[in-house]
Amino acid sequence: MAYSFPEEVLEHVFSFIHTDKDRNSISVVCKSWYAVERWSRRRIFVGNCYAVSPVIVTRRFPELRSVALKGKPHFADFNLVPEGWGGDVFPWIATMARAYPMLEELRLKRMVVTDESLELISRSFKNFKVLVLSSCEGFSTDGLAAIAANCRNLRELDLRESEVDDLSGHWLTHFPDSCTSLVSLNISCLGSEVSFSALERLVGRCPNLRTLRLNRAVPLERLPNLLRRAPQLVELGTGAYSAEPRPEVFSSLEGAFGSCKELKSLSGFWDVVPDYLPSIYSICSGITSLNLSYATIQSPDLIKLVTQCPNLQRLWVLDYIEDSGLEALAAHCKDLQELRVFPSEPYGVEPNVALTEQGLVSVSEGCPKLHSVLYFCRQMTNAALVSIAKNRPNMTRFRLCIIEPQTPDYQTMEPLDVGFGAIVEHCKELRRLSLSGLLTDRMFDYIGTHAKKLEMLSVAFAGDSDLGLHHVLFGCESLRKLEIRDCPFGDKALLANAAKLETMRSLWMSSCSVSYGACKLLGQKMPRLNVEVIDERGPLDSRPESCSVEKLYIYRSVAGPRRDMPQFVSTMDEDSELRLS
C-alpha cells in the first residue's frame, strides 16, 4: 500500500528531521515531499559560499531561520590566501534582508564582514538571536555597536578568532538596559578594554548567561565581581590571569569560583602568574574543557592543574606541558577525547621544551577515548606513529605538525611513510588528517588504499611525483577537501582525475607544479567546476602555457563562476581564452 500523508502531517513528520543529510534525502523522494521540505526547512549549512548563490538559496528555501556560511579556504589561516580574495558576506545579507525578515541565526566562518553588513543585519532581522563570526574580518567595533543596540532579542554574540578593528571598548555600552536575553558572549579576540561597569551590569542582568569569554584586557581583579553576578556560568574565558600576588585578591577569586557550581569549560589565562592558579582548583573536578593555549606556564604548574581535572575531555595547551606533563595527563585524565598541543616558539631553531613524540605516545596509551589530536613537535619516529595507531584505532582527527618541513624519522632517518601508513590502516574511522615530515609517494599509496572514510587531507612539502596526488584522488572515496602546498604535483594526476573533483567540495594547491595550460584545459573539460588561478605576479594572458601557477583553488558550484574576483584571481572556463576575470 502507498503511504500518502497529508501535507500538514508531512510537515509535522519533517519537524523531527534535522540533519542536512536527512533533509536533503527527503527532498528527493518525490515532488510533494520536495515541496513540503523546502517550505519547512529552517536551517541550512553552506560549506562554500561560492558553491551556490544567495538568490538560489532564497528561491528554494523561502522560510529559513538559521544560515551558516563558510568563505575562504582553510589555508587562509596560514596567510596563503591573499588579501582581497573574496568571501564578502554583504551580497548574502542584502538578499536575505529582503527574503528572510524572520532570520534568527547567522554563523559565518572565514568571511569578510564589513560594518555595513553588521548594520544591515541589525536593522533587517527583528528577531535576530545568534551571531557567530569565526575567523572573520573586515569589521570594527562600530559594527558591533549596531548589533548591540538594535538586536533586541540577542542571545549569542560570539566573535571567536575574528580580526576586529578595535576602535574602542565603548561599543558594549550600546546594549540597552532592557537587554536581558544574552546566553553567550565571546569577545576574547578584542584588544581594547571594554567598559567594565557596562560589562558588569550586562552580565548581572542576563540570568541565562552560560558562556562568557572575556578578552585579555579584563584584569584579574575584575573577575570576582563578574563571576558573582553570573554563578550559573558553564563556560568562562578569563582575561589576563596576572596581578601582584595579594592574598585578598586570591581569596576573592577563590571564593567567586567556588560559587560557580556549573562551570565546565575554562579558557583565557593570558599572562598567567602561577601563584594565582590554585584559585581555580576547587572547581577543577567539574571541568571538562580546558583551553590553556595562551597560558605561558611551565610543566610543573601545568601538571598540578591538569591532575586535578579527572573529568577532562578536551585540553588545548602549549608545548610547555612537555612529555612529563602529557604522561601525567595520561595517568589522570581517562576521559580525554581531544588534545591540542601548540608550539610556544614555532620559529625557534632549537627545541625550547622537552616535548617529543613520547608525549603523544603516552597519551595515546593512557586515554582510551582519545580520538582528536593536533600536535606540534620537532621530532617523530615511525615506531611512535605505529604505536599511536595501534593504541587508538578510534582516532577520527589526526593532525601532526612536525615544525621543520621534510623531517625524517630521527632514529632511522627514514621517511615517515610507514608511520602514517599505520595511522590510516588502523584508524578506520579517520575523517581528518594533516601530514608532515619526510614523506614519499609510498605514503600516499597507503592513504589511497586505506583511508576510505577520510574527508579532509592537508599536505605540505611531501611526495615525489604526480603519483602521490593520483593515489589520493583515486583511492580516497570520501574525500571532500584536499589542501596541498609545496608538493611536486603537476598536471598529470589532476587532469586524469578531473571527474573526482566534482565529488569534492574543494581542492587547494599552492606552490606546486600545475601549469597554466593544464588549468585552462581543466576549466574547459569541467564546466561545472570553478577553476580559479590565484597569481599575484601580474596578468596571466602573457604567460607561456607551461608556466606553473602560484595558487589554484578548484571547487564545484551550482552558481557558475563568481563575479567578484579581484584582478589577481582568474577563472578558467570555456571562454578562458577570451575572458580572464
Binding site: M1, A2, Y3, F5, P6, E8, V9, H12, V13, F14, S15, F16, I17, T19, D20, K21, D22, R23, N24, S25, I26, S27, V28, V29, C30, K31, W33, Y34, I44, F45, V46, G47, A51, V52, I56, V57, R60, R556, S557, V558
Partner: protein, 144 residues
Amino acid sequence: MITLTSSDGETFKVDEVVAVKMQTIEHMMEDGCAETAIPVPNVTGKILAKAIDFIKKHVETTKKEELRAWDADFIKVDQATLYDLLMAANYLDIKGLLDLTCQRVADMIKGKSVEEIREIFNIENDFTPEEEKEIRKANQWAFE
C-alpha cells in the same frame, strides 16, 4: 460520558476528560453536538480503541519516565497500524499521539537513503531523471 462510533460501527463510551483531548471532538462538544453518539468515519474500531488507550494513559499518569516507557512500547506496531494511528491522531487532533506517531515515522526516515525511504513508504518517484539529478546536485554541492 461521550459516545463515539467508529467507521466499522463499534461504539466507545469515554469520559469527558478523555474526549476533550481529541480537539476535533472537543469542538463538537462545545458546539453542542455531543448529545448523541458522535460518528468518527475515518477511524476503525481497532485504531480508535488504541487512541483512547493512549489518551487514558496520559490522563491517568503524570510520571514522565513511566509515560516515556509506555509510549515506546505503545508505538511498537506494524507500519499499517502506525499509519492509521497517525492519520487518526491528525483527524481527531490528538496532539500527544500526533507527536509520537510523527516522531516514529521520522525515526524510520532518518539515516536512510532516498531509495530506501521510497521503498518503506511505497512512494512513487515522480521526478524525471534530469529533475532528480539537478536536485541531488544542488543538495550535495551547495547544502551539505
